[in-house]
C-alpha cells in the first residue's frame, strides 16, 4: 500500500526520535534554579501563584531575604528554607501561626504598608 521509501521514513523517524527523546529526558532534565522564580501554593481557597523573583530582584520590588524569611540573619540568607518548614499547614498557635495565617499577615500587611499589591482574596487566590 505504501512505498518502501515511505515506510522507511516513518520507521527511521520513530527510532531516531525515540532515541533523542529518551536521551533528552535522561540527560537534560529541567533543573530547578537555586533561588525560586515562582511558587505555586495549592490551597483549597484557590491556588496562589507567587512571583518570588520579582519580589526579591533589585529591578523588581527589591525586598531583602530577611523581610519575609524573618528568622534569618544576613549571613544565613543562602540557607533560606520553605515557609512551611516552620509554619505548618494545619496546626498553629499564637507563637507559630499556621502557614495560611503567616502568609496572610506577611503579604497583606506588606501590601498595605507599601500601598501596592493586592489585599483582597481574589487578588491572589485563583478562585
Amino acid at each position: 500500500m505504501f512505498s518502501k521509501k515511505e515506510l522507511k521514513l516513518a520507521g527511521a523517524l520513530a527510532v531516531c526520535l525515540l532515541v533523542i527523546g529518551v536521551i533528552s529526558y535522561a540527560a537534560f532534565p529541567l533543573q530547578a534554579p537555586p533561588e525560586p522564580l515562582r511558587l505555586m501554593f495549592n490551597v483549597a481557597a484557590g491556588n496562589v501563584l507567587f512571583n518570588h523573583k520579582i519580589h526579591a530582584a533589585v529591578s523588581g520590588y527589591g525586598l531583602s531575604c530577611g523581610d519575609c524569611h524573618h528568622t534569618l540573619s544576613e549571613d544565613e540568607y543562602a540557607d533560606a528554607q520553605s515557609c512551611s518548614e516552620c509554619h505548618e499547614l494545619d496546626e498553629g498557635d499564637e507563637e507559630m501561626p499556621k502557614r495560611a495565617d503567616a502568609f496572610h499577615l506577611q503579604c497583606i500587611n506588606c501590601h498595605k504598608d507599601f500601598e501596592a499589591g493586592p489585599i483582597e482574596c481574589t487578588g491572589c487566590h485563583a478562585l
Binding site: 500500500m1 505504501f2 512505498s3 515511505e6 515506510l7 521514513l9 516513518a10 520507521g11 523517524l13 520513530a14 527510532v15 531516531c16 526520535l17 525515540l18 533523542i20 527523546g21 529518551v22 536521551i23 533528552s24 529526558y25 537534560f28 532534565p29 529541567l30 533543573q31 530547578a32 534554579p33 525560586p36 522564580l37 515562582r38 511558587l39 505555586m40 495549592n42 484557590g46 491556588n47 501563584l49 512571583n51 523573583k53 481574589t122 487578588g123 487566590h125 485563583a126 478562585l127
Partner: protein
C-alpha cells in the same frame, strides 16, 4: 440458463433498455496522504521552533518522544490486528507532533506515552483508522488527559522553573481569575510573537498563522472552517466584552491566546471529524468559536478550545444533513 437475447443485452451496452448515466473517469491529482501529513508537519514547524527556543531540550524531548511513540503505537495496532502497516502515511507522526505541541514542556515521559496511546489507539484505530474517527484524536486524548491529570495542564504550575523574558502567567488564567485588569501585563504584539506561556507549539501566534495560511492556500485545510472558527470567537468575545469589559477580555486577546490559533488551523479542520458541505462548514466553525468563548468566560475551564472542538465534532454528521438540493426529480 440465460436466453441468447439476454446474453446479447449484457454484452452490448447499446442494447440496454435504459440509458445509464455515470460520472467521467477519475483523474488522480498526484497528491497522497503521505504528502499531506508531512506538509502539515512542515506548516506547524515555525510555531514549534519558537517553543524549542523558549523551553529548550525538555520541550524537544517531549515532542520527539511524542512523535516516535505515536508511530510505534500505530505499528503495534497494525501488527496486533494483522492489518496493513499504515505508519507510512505519516498521519501517526503528525498526530504525535500535534499532541506534543499542545502540552507543556515539563510533561512527564509516562504522560506523553499515555497521551499518544489515547491519540492513536482510542482516538483513531478503534474507530477504524485514518478517515474513520468521529472525533479529532488529539482533541479526544487531550480532553481525557485533562480530566485525568488536570494539574499537568496547569501551565502556570508546570512552567514554574522557567525564567522567561515576558509575563510569566498563563494569559487565559490571569484574565479568568483576576479580570481584565490583568491584561496590562500583555501586549497584543507580544502575544502574536509568542511571548506568552502555553503549550510547546501552541503559543506562537504568527507561526501558527503562517502555517495555517500555507495549508489553506495549498488546499490541505478548508478556509471556511478556520475563518468561521476565528470569527465565532471574535464575535462572541466582543459581545461578552461589551457586556462587562472589567471582567471579560476583548476579542483580540481571545484570538491570540490559549489554543485558539492551533485549534482553528490544525484541530477543527481535521477531515473525518468535520463537515464537507459549505454551509455546514460555516456553522461548524462558528459554533466551535462560540463554544470556546462560552467555556472560557463562563465555564469551569480556563481554555475551551479542546472541549469546544469535541462538541462540534459531535454535531458534524448532523450538520452535513444540510446539503444542496439535488437537481431534477424522481418520478
Amino acid at each position: 440458463m440465460l436466453e441468447k437475447r439476454d446474453v446479447l443485452e449484457q454484452q452490448t451496452p447499446l442494447r440496454q433498455k435504459k440509458l445509464i448515466v455515470s460520472h467521467a473517469p477519475f483523474f488522480h491529482s498526484g497528491r497522497t496522504v503521505t504528502e499531506r501529513s508531512y506538509h502539515t508537519m512542515l506548516a506547524a514547524l515555525p510555531a514549534l521552533l519558537l517553543g524549542f527556543y523558549y523551553y529548550g531540550m525538555p520541550a524537544f524531548g517531549v515532542v520527539c518522544l511524542s512523535i516516535s511513540t505515536a508511530i510505534l503505537w500505530e505499528l503495534v495496532v497494525n501488527l496486533v490486528t494483522k492489518r496493513t502497516i499504515t505508519i507510512g502515511d505519516g498521519n501517526a507522526a503528525w498526530l504525535g507532533m500535534l499532541f506534543g505541541m499542545l502540552v507543556p514542556a515539563t510533561m512527564p515521559w509516562w504522560a506523553v506515552i499515555t497521551g499518544t496511546f489515547i491519540v492513536i489507539v482510542i482516538g483513531k484505530q478503534i474507530f477504524g483508522g485514518i478517515g474513520s474517527n468521529a472525533f479529532h484524536p488529539v482533541a479526544l486524548a487531550l480532553a481525557m488527559m485533562m480530566l485525568s491529570w488536570r494539574s499537568l495542564f496547569d501551565f502556570d504550575a508546570a512552567l514554574l522553573n522557567y525564567d522567561l523574558e515576558f509575563a510569566t502567567i498563563y494569559p487565559l488564567a490571569a484574565v479568568k481569575y483576576f479580570g481584565a485588569a490583568s491584561l496590562d501585563a500583555f501586549s497584543l504584539l507580544d502575544l502574536l510573537m509568542g511571548k506568552q506561556l502555553g503549550g510547546i507549539g501552541s503559543a506562537f501566534g504568527l507561526g501558527l498563522l503562517i502555517g495555517g495560511i500555507y495549508l489553506m492556500l495549498r488546499g490541505f485545510i478548508r478556509w471556511e472552517i478556520s475563518l468561521t472558527f476565528l470569527a465565532g470567537i471574535f464575535a462572541t468575545a466582543f459581545v461578552f466584552n461589551l457586556f462587562d469589559p472589567a471582567r471579560f477580555a476583548p476579542p483580540a486577546f481571545h484570538l491570540l491566546t490559549g489554543y485558539t490559533l492551533i485549534g482553528a488551523f490544525f484541530l477543527a479542520t481535521e477531515d473525518s471529524s468535520s463537515p464537507v458541505n459549505f454551509v455546514p462548514m460555516l456553522i461548524y466553525g462558528a459554533a466551535g468559536g462560540m463554544m470556546t468563548v462560552l467555556i472560557r468566560n463562563i465555564g469551569a475551564w480556563v481554555d475551551g478550545v479542546i472541549l469546544a472542538i469535541l462538541v462540534i465534532n459531535l454535531i458534524s454528521p448532523l450538520l452535513d444533513k444540510i446539503r444542496p438540493q439535488a437537481l431534477g426529480k424522481v418520478e
